[in-house]
Each structure stands twice: as structure tokens, then as C-alpha cells.
Amino acid sequence: MTNYVIRKILSLIPMMLVLSFLIYLGIELMPGDAVDFLIPPDALSTMSETQLNEMRESLGLNDPFMVRYVKWLGGVLHGDFGYSLQSGVPVATLMKNHLPATIELTVTALIFSSIFGILFGVISALKKGSILDQMLSVVGMIGVAIPQFLLGLICINAFALHLNLLPVGGRMASMDQNFFERLPYLIMPALVLGFSLTSGVMRYARGSMLDSMGKDYMKTARAKGIPEWRLNLLHGLRAALTPVVVLIGFRLPMLIGGAVVIEEVFQWPGIGALFVDSVRAQNTPLVMMIGFFSVLLVLISSIIVDIVTAALDPRIKLS
């Protein structure tokens, strides 16, 4: 097992090297001269060409591309991710400030969609063909087809603007509030973000539950006189869970993409909103670094999914 995990993690390194190179290439492709972004405009207009050149030299901007890349990579490995072009604030600080909000949102959406997706999926598998099953599948179809932001707009319109039940957006009224006071702000974005994910998990859970209900070991267990509810709960559900765990892991990219849009709709101060802002402002260093970390997250989670599946499924030999 340890060997397997280590091998998996080592396989990340070449991928990350290539990716970091591409990310750096992206930062370099940014239109304009980096010096323009580092010096106040009034100082820039008084500087002569030779002064600018000295400046470039001292900043290392005249080094060959590969040298600059290696320097940059060294910085990244030490936690120096560069600076935002809009505010001059270090990217690392910005990320640290915005990350908690995003984690709060995505984890809630993930938990919500897993619980309801599995629950409704199993229910509709057990009641296959019933009106409930058909209604759930219609909801599921709409869930994957409706643009997430549109669902967000409909919810804001209904629950915030007309019924005045929940706040329109934002994360908290003022600083230093505990989780339960912030909860009203979290409900809508998390439910909307989780909704389309729920539909996917529900479809999948229904399929795998139906699949496992037809298996021979279920007949054996039934023949042994085990009550139906216990049979479904213990044997059926357990077999149905494995593919669902995998699915939740692979849905992570969708969750991140969805968070980008949903955070913007609900003015949720997370990484996604930060990302959209920096795309609008052509703030390349920040865009690239957020992109880099999202890929890192996806790759790591796919490794975790591999390991969990391997651990759950006795048929997969690890040695």
C-alpha cells in the first residue's frame, strides 16, 4: 500500500514540471513589459531608456528564458508566487485570504450533494418505475441542463428579493461572526452549487444500486432470510457506494468550475470571485497561479480517489 501511494505521488512530479513551465510561459506571454507594472507611471515617464535597461537587468528580466523560469520555479517552491498586478499584494496573501470562503462553500456543496444524491438515487432505485422515481429523474434532467448561474438568479429572485428570507449575497454582515450567524449567507450558494452535482450523483447511485440489487449475493442473502430493509441497507448500498465515491472525486473539476460562477453570482468572497476579477483585469500572474493550484488540487484528489477505490475494492491488487 505504502509503495503504491509513493509511486502515485512520484508520478505527479513530471506532470507538475510541465505544467509549471506552461504556467510560466503564460505569465511571460502577458502583453506589455513587466517593468511597466512595477514602476509608478509618473516615475516611468521621467526615466530614460538606459535607466529602464538597468532596471530590467537588476530585476533579471534580461536573462535567458530558461534561467528566468528556473528562478521563478525556485520562488514558487519557497512560497513566493509573485504579485497581483492590480493591487501589488503578494498572490500568496490573496489566496490565503480568499481560500477559507471557497473551502466553506465547496465542502458544504460536496457534502450536500453526496448525501442527497446517494439518498435520492437509492430511493428511486428501490422504487424503480414509481411516480417518485420519475419525478426525481425529471428533476435530475433539469439539474444537469439548467445553467447554474440561472438557478442562482431564480433563487435570489425568489428567496432574497421577494420573500426576504435570505441575504442576496456576500458571506457575512460584518467580521468576526461565528459559523451559525453566517449560515444564512451560505445556504443559497451552497445549495445551488450542489444541485447539478446532486443530479449527477443521483443518476449514478441509482444505476449502481440497481446493478447491485440484481447480483447473486443479494439472492443468497434473501434466501437466508435477511429482512429486505437490512439487505438493501447493508449489501446493496455498500456495493453502490464505491462508484459514487469515485464519481464525487471526479466531479471536483466541475465543482471548481461551478464555484467560479456561483461565487460571482452571490458575491461570495472566495478564490473563484478573485479569479473572475483577475481575468477581467487581465491580471495574468494571479490568473495563472490560481489555474496552477486548481490543477494541483485536481491531480491530488484524483490520486486520493485512486487510493480510496483501491482500498475499497478487494479485487484491485496493489503490489
Binding site: 505544467l19 441542463a145 440561472l150 473539476p253 467560479v260 460562477v261 453570482v265 481575468v279 495574468t284 490568473v287
Partner: protein, 302 residues
């Protein structure tokens, strides 16, 4: 689908007994038309597509015509779905905007398919270093969350209609490539391929003419999936103001104004019908995709 299969078998049995005439030769197509949902999908799809393509037949207005004397009007006999902040007719904007949105979605999906399938066919059949490189590239692209990759590319290339189609095609080919490639890998050692080789038929001719047609079902399913995804993404990007430039009417650009809370609260006719149009169109595409998958999945042919 088992009930559908049984229905199909009954129909086949009656056909063999000579009780009814054979209508279509292609079994997959027949199976698809026996599926109520996919027929509904096809009908909705064709209706929306036709109304958008023949937009001038259904509205006297122009999508970009500004009329400052009638701004923010609720639906009336004159303007079926009302007007927006600068007096443009919403119904006309939905129809003309649909043209662009559908063209972006379908066009990008088709380009991505041609790109991915040809790469997958060539690289998958030949194998070796070419396959290794393309595989690595596709792995890297698929590691990005789609939305993030698209936005990164928007930052680099800037915003325009053609850039968006380019970006969607560029981010869409890896899944097509994977599919075509796996088809090549599983079939290229088959006996019939060896027989073709023995006849002296060229490698690429075998790959494209004799192996690729086996993948026609999954390819079409994938086109529908990509089209739906790209239409949703165009809507989301334009809603954020990062997709197609605002002066072009698209479904996403109509929805863009709903970021304004007063419009969201008071002028439902601007965003709700447009949202319904997008959702309906994507649902119809998904139904067609599901029907195609059920009809062409080899494990379902009894």
C-alpha cells in the same frame, strides 16, 4: 431500457412474420425513434433551431435595434416578451441570440470532434512516440477544470466570438481523442484488420475506413455532450461578461443584465424566458444524446 428492448423484439418478430413493413434499415436509428424522450428531444431541438435560423419570419424586430421611447416594457401585444434597458425587443434577441449561441456550441463541438477524432485515429493506430506525446498533452489539458482553462485562455487571447470558438475547440478535443484512440487500440489487432493488411491496404485507409466507423455511436453521443456543455459555458462566460462581446446578441449576453438586482427583481421578462430557452435547448440535446447512447451501445443490442 429492457422494456424498450422487448418492444423492439416484438416489432422485429412481427416484421419477420411479414405482418408489418420494414421502415428503416438502420437498427440504431429505428431504436432511437422508438424512444419517446429522444423523439421529444429531436422535436424541441429542430423547432428551436428552425425558429432561430429563420428568425426574421417570427419577429419584425431586429436584435440590436435600440428604441429609447420604449425601454423596460413588460410583455405586450407589440413586444411579445417586452423590451430591455435600451428598448431592444427581447423575443427578437432570444431568436437572433440563439443563432450565435447554437453556432458557438455546435460549431466548437464539431471542430473539437474533427480534431480529436483524427488525432486519435492516427495516433492510436500508429502508436509509438506520436501517441505518447498527444496522450501527454491531452492528460495535461484534462487536468484543468474546464472552466478554469477556458478563462485562462480568455485572459491570454482576449475576448471575441472567434476566440471563444477557438478556445472551446482547443479545450474540447482531448475527450474525443481518448475515445477514438481507445477504439483504435482495441480493434487494431483484430483478425479482420490483419486480413486487410494482408491485402496490402494502407494503414490510414484501414484506420479511417474500417476501424473508425465502429466508433460512430460514441462519437455522436460525445458531440451532443460537448454541444450542451459549450452552450452552457458560453452562457456562463457571457453572463460574467467574459464571453462573446456584449454588442453581439447571445443567450448569455441577454442574461448578463440580470446581474443588476433591480432588473432581476422587476423585469423578469428579460432573463426568465431566455433562461428557459437555454435550459430547454440543453435538455433537448441531452435527450438526443441519451437516446443515441441507448440506441448505439453494443451491449444493448439484443
Amino acid at each position: 431500457m429492457s422494456s424498450l428492448d422487448r418492444k423492439m423484439d416484438k416489432i422485429l418478430a412481427r416484421e419477420e412474420a411479414g405482418q408489418i413493413k420494414k421502415r428503416m434499415k438502420n437498427r440504431a436509428l429505428r431504436k432511437m425513434f422508438a424512444n419517446r424522450l429522444s423523439v421529444a428531444g429531436i422535436i424541441i431541438f429542430v423547432v428551436i433551431l428552425f425558429m432561430c435560423c429563420a428568425a426574421p419570419l417570427f419577429t419584425p424586430y431586429d436584435a440590436t435595434k435600440v428604441d429609447l421611447r420604449s425601454i423596460l416594457q413588460p410583455p405586450s401585444a407589440e413586444h411579445i416578451l417586452g423590451t430591455d434597458k435600451i428598448g431592444r425587443d427581447i423575443w427578437a434577441r432570444i431568436l437572433f441570440g440563439g443563432r450565435v449561441s447554437i453556432a458557438v456550441g455546435l460549431g466548437s463541438a464539431l471542430i473539437a470532434t474533427v480534431l480529436g477524432v483524427s488525432l486519435g485515429t492516427i495516433a492510436g493506430y500508429k502508436g509509438g512516440w506520436l501517441d505518447g506525446i498527444v496522450m501527454k498533452v491531452s492528460e495535461i489539458m484534462m487536468a484543468f477544470p474546464q472552466m478554469i482553462l477556458v478563462l485562462i485562455l480568455v485572459t491570454i487571447t482576449g475576448q471575441s466570438l472567434w476566440n471563444l470558438i477557438f478556445i472551446f475547440s482547443l479545450t474540447g478535443w482531448p475527450s474525443m481523442y481518448r475515445m477514438a484512440r481507445s477504439q483504435m487500440l482495441s480493434l487494431r489487432e483484430q483478425e479482420y484488420v490483419q486480413a486487410l493488411k494482408a491485402f496490402g491496404i494502407g494503414g490510414m485507409r484501414i484506420a479511417f475506413k474500417h476501424i473508425l466507423p465502429n466508433a460512430i455511436g460514441p462519437i455522436f453521443v460525445n458531440i451532443t455532450l460537448s454541444t450542451a456543455m459549450f452552450i452552457l459555458q458560453e452562457a456562463a462566460l457571457s453572463f460574467l461578461g467574459l464571453g462573446v462581446p456584449l454588442e453581439v446578441a447571445t443567450w448569455g449576453n441577454i442574461l448578463n443584465v440580470a446581474q443588476d438586482l433591480t432588473i432581476l427583481k422587476q423585469a423578469w421578462w428579460i432573463w426568465l424566458p431566455t433562461g428557459i430557452a437555454v435550459t430547454l435547448f440543453v435538455i433537448s440535446i441531452n435527450f438526443i444524446g441519451d437516446g443515441l447512447r441507448d440506441a448505439t451501445d453494443p451491449s444493448q443490442i439484443g
